[in-house]
Amino acid sequence: MNIRTQISMVFHLDKCIGCHTCSIACKNLWTDRKGAEYMWWNNVETKPGTGYPTKWEEQSEYKGGWEIKGDMLKPKMNGRWNRLLNIFSSPPLPTIDDYYEPWTYRYEDLFNAPEGDDQPTARPISLITGESINIEAGPNWDDDLSGSTIYARNDPNLENLTELEREQLNELERLVFFYIPRMCNHCLNPACVATCPSGAIYKRGEDGIVLIDQKKCRGWRMCVSGCPYKKSYYNWNTGKSEKCILCFPRLETGQVPACMHSCVGRIRYLGVMLYDADKIENSAKVSDNKLVDTQLDMILDPFDEKVITAAKTQGIHDEVIISAQNSPTYKFVKQWKVALPLHPEFRTLPMLFYVPPLSPIIAKMEGGKFDVVNADSTAQTDHLRLFHSLTDSRVPIKYLASLFSAGDTSKIDHIYKKLIAVRLCMRSITVGDVAQDDLKKTFEMGNTNAEEAVMIYRLTSLPSIDERFVIPPMYREEAIESFENVYDYKSSAGFGFVQKAERRL
């Protein structure tokens, strides 16, 4: 057992209102610079939709992630020789047009235009060339555009759906969509790290944050293609790649990452998990339908005495173990099993998990009513019919399975049943109109009990900021102090980047 700690995240999609506050918080902090304008380390996508960059999930085109070749786990971009031989012009690299060309407006025209019969306008100009452009794409260009023939209907996840299910999704005046906020997953088996020819990308041993060493990056841009989530970005101004840093300067000082702190819907949870690093390769090498299970197997129980002793002997601080025990992500992911990773079939073992969106439940309209209760007449009581409505759910289960469980609908089914059980349990407590018999069956079907349901409800609806974000103490300064004499730097000019981050020669 090689125990490591990993900061992980859970996004509760039922609570996401698609306000993009997270994206803006991130942009203001990190990517409001020349060359990074087009980057959204954190972005929110409407699903169904093509996303950002366009059709990023289409790995037959972008070649991101891993695949099994023979009995080897290899990056989908092919082996090492192939990478170096293609370095002069890497075929699967997305270009700026797959994101959008950043622009501003020529505002000074509003003040300087000569007097005339028409109002002066501020023409859009490209932030790259300075020339005027026609804006054809932009941030959140397909926001809320479910049903659109250009965006929603080209969603790669619709591939496995039947005609009827697609129809259900796009039914006129009953279009359905939900939001999915995306950021770097800080994977356990990151493909960006594996495909970087310079070896500039690394995982921090202590917390699992994946970073790009800007001084080691040589701009070979393979990580952009290698990351199946397209969360590594090439800065066209500096000639370096950049990605989400999980606000590590904030985390190290006990602050919550900006995107999470600003989340209006409070959908985000952050906590540390212990995992067995020896299992990484084998966990990523199993068949598609087992990927989620093997990944959960890697995550260790922080209450298990054996795990605690092993962690301590391997130098993990007591307080980190305590924060792993309090971690909200451990509860959602491993204890309650209601959160799943995004596209596990990319085999990067992402450590950002999503609680799939539950509502609105019913899809088909009968007699002009969308009554959940009428969904299935074979169920004995109204409340139990909720469970049977899953096959008719407005967002087809297959669609969610394509996103979160590599096509395995049973995983989504289990989560749905548990979440419905939580609702019914809370209804029985607050309204009191659920028959005891129904409640019992509810818990059976949801594979849960009253105690767990109340805990899920509490952490979903009423958590305080300290319950949502359990930041492990990082002891970075202490660690550095024990190996370096920090007083050597006293009264010197500081550390880090002395030069400006731009191209000079």
Partner: protein, 219 residues
């Protein structure tokens, strides 16, 4: 006097500048080491320019160096009728890189996004390389067989420089265009640390054997 400056002092000077400033840039401003790829802004023309250019020039450059390092093997390679095959391949590669260069130059001139990220040194490099490859092709076509007399003139001259017994008499007899080819080559070496050419030095060969996953610890 001019000859001893151009063919003795200048090569030493250019290599010295290259070494000192490459090391200086690497230690003082490692951040600036990048290939400064513009593929992200334009990738269709780049493919037809960059791939032929790099494959052509890398093989030709390696053959130039190969003749210097192992003259014996190189001489064997050229023996008999093999020289015609050898020169044809060389010329083909030269044309390949020349065409690639022209495509790259046209691309840089015509695509406004690529123009926007172009530095003066990028234009300078394009110009110098066009001259270098162009003059090389001209020499190959007019002074047969270049690969053979290269071995008997320039290679011993380089060796004389290496062994610090510089003897410019090997090269002063060569035609003007060959001299220009040599001088341009050393000029390119001299400006290497001041341009994007530094990406040659950081060619990621260790990628072939490093483990896929990298973790860094504080300690």
């Amino acid at each position: 006097m001019t000859n001893s400056f151009l063919f003795i002092a200048f090569p030493y000077l250019s290599v010295t500048i290259a070494v000192i400033f490459t090391v200086y840039r690497f230690t003082a401003d490692r951040y600036s080491y990048s290939s400064y790829s513009s593929q992200f802004l334009e990738n269709k023309e780049l493919f037809w320019g960059s791939v032929p250019w790099h494959y052509g020039i890398i093989i030709i450059l390696l053959l130039h160096i190969f003749a210097i390092i192992i003259p014996g093997a190189y001489r064997w390679l050229l023996a008999g009728s093999r020289i015609e095959l050898f020169e044809s391949i060389g010329l083909g590669l030269a044309f390949l890189s020349f065409v690639g260069l022209i495509i790259l130059a046209v691309r840089r001139l015509s695509d406004s996004k690529v123009t926007a990220v172009s530095f003066a040194t990028d234009w300078l490099l394009l110009f110098l390389f066009l001259f270098q490859v162009g003059s090389g092709i001209y020499i190959a076509l007019t002074y047969r067989w270049g690969s053979l007399w290269y071995l008997n003139t320039i290679v011993p001259w380089i060796w004389s420089l290496f062994s610090f017994t510089p003897d410019s008499s090997y090269v002063v007899i060569l035609p003007m265009i060959v001299k220009l080819h040599i001088l341009n080559a050393f000029f390119l070496i001299a400006i290497l640390p001041f341009t994007r050419l530094v990406h040659i030095i950081s060619a990621p060969i260790p990628y072939l054997w490093r483990p896929y996953q990298i973790a860094r610890w504080y300690k």
